[in-house]
Amino acid sequence: MGRVFLKHIPKLIGFIFIFAGCSKLLMPGQATTALESLDIPYGLANAIVIAVTILELYLGVLLILRIDLRYALVVSTCLMLAFTVYIWYLSTLAHAPSCGCLGLTGIFKSRKQEAWFGLLRNCLILWALKLTYDHHFPRKPAESLGELAHHSTTNT
């Protein structure tokens, strides 16, 4: 059961990325406004949203089609980490704007709630990405640092 789940996680995260990308393509307002609230000029905020939209769709396709899965998982993890730090920063603001990540803006009573939900969601995705990476690309015992250190000491 766990193995089947781990096998399909890339596809699931891929669909999440595609959904987020499509949502930003159709309704980029919240994401742009959130960046503008951090004093980023409108033009630059718009460019960042376009770039993120393209990146999300690109990673979504890679994960769903399992093209260069290792590369896709690593880049996805980096992107999710960046999103997590961003949402965490937004959540610390007195008047936290909506991040506009998944177009779920209407379901929360407050922006703080939305930010905290975003943080929790991103942490779960990061955890799932790590599990998937470990499942698909298990470390060989000799690759671990402990092993290497052990070898080096016994050789001398």
């Binding site: 393209i54 690109y58 396709v61 590369y71 690593v74």
Partner: protein, 276 residues
């Protein structure tokens, strides 16, 4: 080491996505603009609600109470305003009259406040004709209405749609009263300087067109600069649930040695249409 096994397939995917995304962004520009307007509207509404909640939580005293006037007068004494004793004495009196008028506005009191003991001219303000168009005065084709008749018609035009009940202040917060002097009565000087207590959107009370004349000022360049005093406080009105800030500005008329009503701004949350 991260490697891409087939860079061409990555380029193809990226290219296809860019070909879809960029034209879609151009095609959806109108939809984006509408969404942006919606977000801005929502943001303004949320911000207004948040501010209104803070203002509503303040302590308010019934405006009819003597305490209101006393609190204002105490504030004048407590502040190191650059006012002479005569300025202060007259200000206390004028402020009391202005507050009485705002609590219980009548045409007679308004006209008296704007004219009694002051040298004034009257020229119908640009903001007035839309009210006058509906008034009977112009329909009757009166040749040269007096200022009093014009002001009365403006008063009636404002108050008739509200079943003749003038908008008034019902209670005042005595904990946050701001006051300062200034050389101008610009909106920024009144609402954006030391007396500022914030606002969501300001609405200016109508001045039908009173102008106060200082012959010395108009004839000599070396005359003393103009003096205004700006007062701010939170209040409730009889036509709105929410509380909001009120800004009054009074002008020192040197030849008359008295204060004249200059401008009043209220927050739109108070929904007040008034003459000042």
């Amino acid at each position: 080491m991260l490697t891409i096994s087939n860079p061409r397939s990555h380029a193809l995917i990226l290219g296809a996505i860019i070909v879809v995304v960029l034209p879609a962004r151009v095609a959806l520009r109108q939809q984006y603009a509408a969404e942006r307007h919606r977000i801005e509207r929502q943001g303004r509404r949320e911000s207004s609600q948040e501010m209104a909640a803070q203002w509503n939580a303040l302590r308010y005293t019934d405006a009819v109470s003597e305490n209101v006037t006393k609190a204002f007068l105490a504030k004048i004494d407590g502040l190191s305003l650059s006012l002479t004793e005569l300025n202060k004495a007259r200000l206390e009196q004028r402020l009391k009259e202005a507050l009485d008028y705002l609590q219980n506005p009548t045409f007679e009191e308004y006209y008296r406040l704007k004219t009694a003991g002051l040298r004034w001219q009257f020229e119908l303000s640009d903001r007035v004709p839309k009210f006058l168009r509906r008034s009977a005065l112009l329909e009757q084709g009166t040749e040269k209405p007096t200022p009093r008749e014009l002001v009365k018609s403006v008063w009636d035009a404002i108050n008739t749609p509200k079943a003749g009940v003038p908008h008034r202040i019902t209670s005042v917060c005595l904990d946050h009263i701001g006051m300062e002097t200034s050389r101008t009565n610009s909106p920024h000087a009144i609402m954006g300087e030391k007396a500022s207590i914030g606002f969501t959107m300001a609405r200016e009370a109508i001045d039908p067109g009173f102008q106060y004349v200082d012959p010395q000022r108009s004839s000599s360049m070396g005359s003393a600069p103009e003096l205004f005093v700006h007062i701010s406080f939170f209040a409730h009105s009889n036509v709105a649930v929410e509380a909001g800030p009120v800004y009054l500005s009074l002008y020192w008329s040197e030849p008359d040695q008295n204060w004249a009503l200059s401008r009043m701004f209220t927050d739109v949350l108070l929904r007040m249409d008034a003459l000042f």
